[in-house]
């Protein structure tokens, strides 16, 4: 492939949205209330829409006849480059919202930077996505405050979720080889520069939610290199089911 770094860079961005979109989509018909059910699946829909824009661009770069569906559905587990955070399960609503919040704040900051990309397609996608993701961030931040500053039980569950998911936040700011190459070309976002502000913003919301900011310095990594937690295999088993059971089927 001529532009392998760009291709891998796009997949790195899109896979986060794909896997998180799948996780949120699992709540369809299972949300804790009708409004939140609809909100979670709306977020899922936004993310899948964004993934399509990225993958359509990736197919042009790959130029090997693969479609956006092939890229989404037909890779092996280790070829998915999403961060570990987004594949964490919907243990309970606090985990679902905690995961969303920890990702949204990053996602919004990332897209704001990607708008400045010298790659016009990526900046156009970012321009589009940033409007949608600002709604996601507002939704998840509101819920962190509502549950954190809620009942004793909701506070305890929210705190537990944030504590557990905290270990997956540092990886958001790790650079891959594709990242470094794209930053050098002015196409990619230097995620290392987003880190301080990210933790500042997260801490502000947590404090407003009367929650403790976890102090743990023990972090997990691997997703960006394709080394995932066991959860991804189960997600892919469901995501890829139709293509694996009926190869080349089309709607």
């Amino acid at each position: 492939m001529k532009n392998e770094n760009l291709y891998n860079y796009i997949l790195g961005i899109a896979d986060n949205s794909l896997i998180l979109g799948q996780r949120m989509g699992e709540l369809c018909g299972h949300g804790p209330s009708l409004e939140t059910d609809i909100a979670c699946t709306n977020i899922s829909l936004d993310l899948f829409g964004q993934v399509r824009s990225y993958f359509q661009y990736a197919t042009k770069i790959a130029g090997d006849g693969r479609s956006e569906d092939d890229i989404a559905m037909l890779r092996q587990e280790r070829e998915y480059k999403n961060v570990l955070l987004v594949e964490q399960p919907n243990t309970n609503f606090a985990y679902t919202l905690g995961r969303q919040f920890l990702f949204d704040i990053y996602h919004l900051a990332f897209l704001k930077e990607l708008q400045k990309s010298t790659d016009l397609t990526l900046s156009a996608i970012a321009n589009k996505c940033v409007k949608e993701v600002s709604y996601h961030a507002r939704f998840s931040s509101d819920w962190i405050k509502r549950l954190g500053d809620g009942t004793d039980e909701s506070k305890e569950k929210m705190q537990e979720a944030i504590n557990d998911l905290w270990a997956y936040t540092d990886e958001l700011f790790h650079q891959t080889d594709a990242d470094k190459a794209m930053v050098a070309e002015g196409i990619g976002v230097d995620v290392t520069k987003l880190k301080d502000n990210y933790y500042r913003e997260i801490s502000q919301v947590l404090e407003e939610a009367t929650l403790q900011v976890p102090g743990s310095k023990y972090f997990q990594k691997g997703g960006k290199q394709g080394i995932h937690t066991e959860h991804l295999g189960y997600i892919l088993a469901e995501l890829q089911y139709m293509q694996r059971a009926y190869p080349n089927m089309e709607w």
Binding site: E35, I38, A39, N42, G49, S53, K128, K131, F139
Partner: protein, 166 residues
Amino acid sequence: MTSTEQNIDERLLSILEQVSDPEIPVLSIMDMGVVRSAVIENGEVKVEITPTYSGCPAMDVIGDDIKKALKDAGYDSEIDLILHPAWTTDWVTSRGRKALEDYGIAAPLDAEADKDVLLNNKRIVKCTNCGSQNTRLVSQFGSTACKAQFQCDDCQEPFDYFKCLK
């Protein structure tokens, strides 16, 4: 095309106005502002449309409906989906806003109100049923990606608000 101006061939305007948004049938796609250009080149029509939301499931249907409407009028066509410049609620025409209100969907507010949203100040969305300003946000996300859910505290009617996207 990258300008925010629309470029529509006048001969095609009346045809395109017949095509409605499949999720909000009272709204023509022209009033919605999703058609960015429509030109006739060598007898074939080239249409550029832009999605309201990335995941808007209506875009494929809108593309098919445009093709069909043009075919009925004797034109072959090609539909391109463009992302830049990104759609904004400013592109909904005043006729479109009225159609939304009549249909029971509160139209997106103006730029001032949008600033209030960004600054977390209270915005006032009027009830589409009784006109009361005593309304509250139920959920940021409504029946489709482009809408939020509100409820009126006077007449108790729940209603959709078309979110403001700038």
